[in-house]
Amino acid sequence: MNQLGMFAALREIIRRDLLLAMRRRSDVLTTVLFFLLVASLFPLGVGPEPAVLRTIAPGVLWVAALLSCLLSLGRLFTADYVDGVLEQMLLIPQPLSVLVIGKVTAHWLISGLPVVLLSPLLGLQFGLSGEALGVLTLSLLLGTPTLSFIGAIGAALTLGVRGSSVLIALLVLPLFIPVLIFGAGAVSSSASGIGAGAHLALLGAGLLLALVLAPWATATSLRIALE
């Protein structure tokens, strides 16, 4: 296997998807604005009680991040499938899973990284302490790529299926739950002084597991979808 060719293909697919995202900024902004709006509406709806806001903050911010990821998953392979580019990707003399890693990385850079970077700012609305904000950011940094990798499997499985966005949600939401529990749990544990180490370690393990298994599962699903 030509490793140099693999890295070149990986770099090129990331570069291409980022270029396309820059040409379609509205798609990127939709995801970020959704996260901002959902996370900002909760303090307005629940009220200004600091203790309540601090308690609900981890769950609210993590659910908002999860839903914004879900919102962008439908676009992960659909456009490439419709215009025939995905078919060409299957003919590249590199493992399809490498290209999947490239596409998921680009997806995370476009939809996940902005969420991670904005989360400390939104955490301030909920009155989170400095330490809790750090844990929130770190947990999202570990958890959102996992969401993208898991989501890619759902996006590939539902490729070309009518009403795929609902199907993706049904398929991947159960798999998102452990990430949500450990992510929100890390922030809650940190806020209550227990320490977030165990939760963060589990999020890291989940990311490694997703990095190994999800590209393979996604590549297999894509091949089936294109047959």
């Binding site: 060409q88 003399p93 590199q94």
Partner: protein
């Protein structure tokens, strides 16, 4: 599709013809590995393509019904990125030369592909043939949406490729003028 056995040698073009729905596209997709054959084998240089997948794909270029272009990218970006993804070293200058060779003037090289006509998009898609050094070209209806001038340019390129020892397998309803000594025909029953 049963009882099908065909060999294509270097420097020859296999024209796959047949009525709509006779399986031309399916056959080409099978040859590329996009569709699994239930039985039988596809050999490349005497070796089963499943056993030498990487080497086979590195020798193959497939242009299907769809143009495989991103509307938000320019023609230059589309051709350059697809070639680089396929593992070819290519500069934007070389891409521009290829686009000019298919009859696309420089003024439209940097415009979004979405504003091009269907014929121009097909030319952009076919420009990959001008930048790719690959041996085997598998083309599905390559002349679709092309005008007479573009058809002539493509015929020239096909002849040049065959003269260089390349192999072309093309599904088409159109007569291909590459010389009778270079042409094989496969007619699929509907």
């Amino acid at each position: 599709m049963t009882a099908l056995s065909v060999t294509v040698e270097r420097g020859r073009l296999l024209a796959v013809t047949g009525a709509n729905g006779s399986g031309k596209t399916s056959l080409l997709r099978m040859l590329c590995g996009l569709l699994p054959a239930e039985q039988g084998r596809i050999l490349w240089d005497g070796e089963d393509v499943r056993a030498c997948r990487e080497r086979y794909l590195a020798s193959l270029i497939y242009i299907g019904h769809l143009n495989s272009l991103k509307d938000d990218l320019t023609p230059v970006e589309n051709v350059t990125i697809s070639a680089r993804l396929a593992g070819e070293e290519i500069s934007e200058g070389k891409t521009c030369e290829a686009l000019e060779a298919v009859g696309l003037v420089r003024a439209i090289h940097r415009l979004p592909t979405r504003i091009l006509s269907q014929g121009q998009k097909r030319r952009v898609s076919l420009a990959r043939l001008w930048v790719s050094p690959r041996l085997l070209w598998v083309l599905d209806e390559p002349f679709a949406a092309l005008d007479a001038a573009a058809t002539g340019l493509l015929m020239q390129q096909l002849r040049a490729h065959l003269n260089n020892g390349g192999i072309v397998i093309a599904a088409t309803h159109q007569e291909i003028d590459v010389g009778a000594d270079r042409l094989d025909q496969l007619r699929l029953a509907g």
